[in-house]
């Protein structure tokens, strides 16, 4: 009996219709995807994107060269060299993050006692060689300068949970 029903259904294209119904429903239903890159989803203030080094409002670097981020990094991606600057302060002469190694765990950010190294919401970087994925101090400071407002706002929002 069941087989007779099946034969009838297939002859009247019932299966096709029911399949197409699903398609048609999806066609007119409200969309949940976005048109990247024209459209973007919202990101959390804790988003772990590209690293940045911050400066104080007076323009001096926040980083004091304590090397805790270097020590905390599980992927050994951070390389720091330090020396006293012209005012005798402890400052970095080299600060590099090798993005080939970085796993975006955020331990460096947690280790930083002065909120100098942060991970920003920015993640849209691409390079054409592996060498380009070694971020120098200049590039990290530049990223910080571009996004300082956003970084400060995100840190402030997250402060009560820290």
């Amino acid at each position: 009996m069941a087989s007779v029903k099946d034969v009838f259904k297939s002859l009247t294209l019932g299966e096709l219709v029911s399949g197409l119904t699903v398609t048609a429903r999806a066609l007119f239903a409200p969309k949940t995807t976005v048109l990247y890159p024209e459209e973007k989803t919202p990101r959390s203030p804790r988003f772990r994107g590209m690293h940045a080094l911050r400066r104080h409002p007076d323009g001096t670097e926040r980083c004091v060269g304590c090397k805790l981020c270097e020590a905390a990094c599980p992927a050994a991606a951070i390389t720091i060299e330090i020396a006293p600057n012209e005012r005798g302060e402890r400052k970095t002469t080299r600060y590099e993050i090798d993005m080939n190694k970085c796993i975006f765990c955020g331990f460096c950010v947690e280790a930083c006692p002065v909120d100098a190294i942060v991970e920003t919401r920015f993640h849209e970087y691409c390079v054409e060689s592996r060498a380009g994925l070694v971020w120098t101090k200049d590039r990290l400071l530049d990223n910080g300068a571009r996004r300082e407002e956003e970084i400060a706002r995100d840190l402030a929002r997250d402060m009560k949970y820290r």
Binding site: V64, G65, C66, K67, L68, I82, G88, R90
Partner: protein
């Protein structure tokens, strides 16, 4: 031994020991800041408070002696609460700047805060700020706000370094550590302040902000600068030595290091380091590959030796070279048929060669110095030549030992001397003999007639000091006569040795040489001794080929002017050295870059005959190579047999008797520590000293010291040490009366003439010198043009 109970555990303790010592001996650590095992007890930090049964209050473990049956609790609620409270107190004013503090990661306060402290601060008040101080180029006192007033530094200066250069001023919350009247710390042991400070208040200036404690790999090594062979640990980062710290060895350096041992590492990283071999091509030194340099050197040596005979070759090594290097150098020289090999460039009198019963040494173990009743040091700028030996003598004098000194200048050794005397260099043997005769008279013996005690020199008047020194040996159970570096470098070295030997025999004292270099004993063990010309003669009678290892003759030789002249007018000079010295382009034809002690393996034999083997701490810089490999390669290229060594250890095993190193595993991971045999300071009967040269009446005698921070090629290149007071340019120092006789005033520029050269220096009054003497330091570029370290010179207004 008595029995006490710590936290329920039975512990045996020495009677009279403090609780903290007893616990440490049992392997239990009690938190503390102000306690230091080598310093007096202050009990001011209160960190070591412990609970003792039947005592009403907590007691400081560092100031409480153990008693039989004592029950001590280290982890009771009361003790833990006290520790937490003490840390909270200390942190009221201690800045929380650990991220920028060099002590971070190796800080006692940090460690104890983690171990016993609280987790939250209740302090809302502002912290105290202490102004930074400047106490010299080695130790930083910039962040004195970090000080916790444990006063270890104050006690160190007073008790170990011998002069209270630091003190605590102010009271209560305003108290702070300061130098007196703003003066710095001028001590050859100042670097130990860095180790002694439990927090980051006193830190190393050269190491400032260079690296973190956790980035460094600590490799054991031996200091290559003085005859003690202080045990050091080299902290290495990225194949560079960035810091040197002491490795504890009670028998040698205890837990101390001299500044020279500690800060000389900067020389290892100096821009002067050679990275490639050099050959003289068309009049200038040019970089070449190893094979060309070695081929060139081997061919040139071979053809010159063939043309001029083997005697035309002379080899000179620095006494700071390793045992293996000295052995291979003498093996190479002897295999080529020449006996002109030596390792004692600063010596003048070699008359004892062939008359010694054994290898000259300290005459006792270093640790035995502490047990002496009487000691006499002859011919030594004690504090600068041998900082760690001076430290032991200082302690000996403090404990009641009678320490006397007979030297060339009455320098402040910061030792409470029993008696002290400064004699002119030519009178030094006579003065020693006067002490000997005074002693013999007191004990009623006639001094034996030895040929050393000749009448050629005028007898020295028996002054109070002479009598006092002689008396100090009367009734002494254990006594010693130590001959210092100046006595060894003196042209009267043989005579002084003989007189001191005779005095030692009669008085029952031991005779010892403090030694002037890291491998002063090792050179004798390696047999790097002349059968032909010695270190002085090889330049006095110029040779055709010179093989120099590690020495800079323009600074290291007894007569630098003569040495440089000989080198300039010769056919071939092969230099094996880590450094491109300023004078090298003047005379060198082949320069082979060798690795310094930090980059090679080898052994030093210190003045007590202790063999200490070490490994390289980092890779050789550039294409420099360990010197023992260079000697092996040269030997093979010269077609000599027996230069196929697999490692420096195989060389060492060939030198030392097989049982020397057996059964004694090294301290701190260094393998092979043993004692050499055949140490003996006696001279045989046939010894006759050189004829004494009495300077003409009215002649000025030169007194030269080797400034502590110019003593060898590595130290000379250490930049921070160059800024210390000890590295000030040499002056022509004279007794006020001598200066008056010459009608020269203090601070005037004078021209000092000593054949074959002259030097323009500043005249300076120095009442510590004997009359008719001019103290002009050796081993400095400013005085390198002058002749013998000891001799007569002329001074005139410039």
């Amino acid at each position: 031994m008595i029995s006490i109970e710590i936290d329920g555990r039975k512990v045996l303790a020495r009677e009279g020991a403090t609780l903290i010592d007893a616990a440490r001996d049992a392997g239990i650590s009690i938190p503390h800041f102000c306690y230091h095992k080598k310093l007096s007890v202050a009990a001011n930090c209160r960190m070591c408070l412990v609970e003792v049964e039947k005592m009403p209050k907590l007691v400081p473990a560092c100031a409480t002696r153990v008693a039989d049956g004592m029950k001590v609790f280290l982890h009771s609620e009361l003790v833990l609460g006290a520790q937490k409270a003490i840390l909270e107190f200390l942190l009221i004013n201690h800045p929380l700047d650990c991220p920028v503090c060099d002590q971070g990661g190796e800080c006692r306060l940090q460690d104890l805060s983690m171990r016993c402290g609280g987790t939250r601060s209740r302090t809302r008040e502002a912290k105290r700020v202490v102004s930074p101080k400047d106490i010299g180029p080695l130790v930083s006192m910039r962040e004195m706000s970090r000080c916790i007033h444990c006063t270890r530094c104050v006690r160190f200066c007073r008790e170990i370094a011998g002069l209270a250069e630091l003190g605590m001023i102010g009271r209560g919350g305003d108290s702070e550590i300061a130098g007196f009247a703003g003066r710095g710390v001028d001590s050859e042991l100042s670097g130990n302040l860095i180790d002694v400070c439990p927090v980051g208040a006193l830190t190393s200036k050269p190491f400032r902000f260079r690296a973190r404690a956790w980035e460094l790999s600590r490799r054991p090594s031996i200091s290559p600068h003085d005859s003690f062979g202080a045990n050091v640990a080299l902290d290495v980062k990225d194949d560079r030595v960035v810091r040197v710290v002491p490795r504890e060895n009670e028998e040698i350096n205890e837990c101390w290091l001299s500044d020279r041992d500690r800060f000389s590492y900067e020389g290892l990283n100096s821009p002067d380091r050679l990275k490639k071999p050099l050959i003289r091509i068309d009049g200038a030194l040019r970089e070449v590959e190893w094979n060309s340099a070695l081929d060139y050197a081997a061919h040139a040596i071979k053809s010159l030796v063939e043309t001029h005979g083997a005697d035309a070759l002379a080899s000179l090594a620095s006494p700071n070279s390793t045992l293996e290097e000295l052995y291979l150098l003498q093996k190479l020289t002897h295999a080529l048929g020449s006996g002109n090999v030596d390792f004692r460039p600063r010596r003048r009198d070699f008359s004892t060669d062939g008359h010694r019963s054994g290898i000259p040494w300290l005459g006792m173990r270093i640790a035995e110095v502490d047990e002496l009743d009487a000691a006499l040091v002859v011919g030594s700028f004690l504090r600068k030549d041998h900082p760690l030996f001076a430290l032991r003598l200082r302690r000996l004098a403090k404990r009641g030992g009678r320490v006397s000194v007979l030297s060339l200048a009455d320098d402040d050794a910061r030792i409470d001397f029993h008696a002290r005397l400064a004699a002119r260099p030519s009178e030094l043997p006579a003065a020693l003999e006067a002490i000997f005769r005074a002693f013999a008279r007191i004990v009623g013996e006639t001094p034996p007639e030895t040929r050393a005690l000749s009448d050629a020199t005028a007898p020295y008047p028996e002054t109070d000091a002479i009598r006092a020194i002689a008396e100090s040996f009367v009734g002494a159970k254990k006594s010693a006569i130590f001959l210092g570096a100046a006595a060894e470098h003196s042209p009267n070295a043989g005579r002084i040795h003989a007189i001191a030997g005779a005095f030692a025999r009669v008085s029952g004292a031991r005779l010892g040489f403090i030694g002037d270099a890291a491998n002063g004993v090792g050179g004798y063990v390696a047999g790097a001794l002349p059968t032909g010309l010695n270190a002085f003669e090889m330049f006095a009678r110029p040779r055709k080929v010179y093989l120099l290892h590690g020495v800079e003759p323009e600074l290291d030789c007894h007569n630098p002017a003569q040495a440089v002249f000989a080198l300039r007018h010769t056919e071939l000079v092969v230099v094996i050295t880590p450094f491109a010295g300023e004078a090298i382009p003047e005379y060198a034809d082949v320069v082979l870059p060798a690795a310094p002690f930090s980059e090679t393996s080898g052994s030093f034999v210190n003045t007590e005959g202790r063999v200490q083997t070490f490994e390289g701490a980092c890779r050789p810089l550039g294409s420099s190579r360990p010197a023992w490999k260079i000697f092996c390669a040269l030997g093979r290229l010269l077609g000599l047999p027996g230069f196929d060594y697999a490692s420096s250890a195989t060389v060492r095993d060939e030198i030392l008797a097989p049982h020397t190193l057996e059964g004694r595993e090294g301290v701190g991971g260094i393998g092979g520590i043993g004692w050499v045999e055949g140490l003996d300071n006696a001279l045989d009967e046939a010894f006759t000293p050189l004829e004494a040269k009495t300077p003409a009446a009215g002649a000025l005698e030169r007194v030269s010291d080797v400034p502590i921070h110019f003593s060898d090629a590595i130290v000379r290149r250490a930049s921070a040490l160059r800024e210390t007071k000890d590295a000030a340019p040499p002056e022509a120092r004279m007794h006020p009366k001598t200066l008056e006789d010459l009608k020269i005033s203090d601070g005037e520029r004078v021209r000092v003439r000593q054949a074959p050269g002259k030097a323009t220096l500043t005249a300076r009054i120095d009442a510590t010198l004997p009359e008719a003497c001019v103290r002009v330091a050796a081993a400095h570029p400013l005085t390198a043009a002058l002749g013998d370290m000891f001799g007569t010179l002329e001074v005139e207004r410039a």
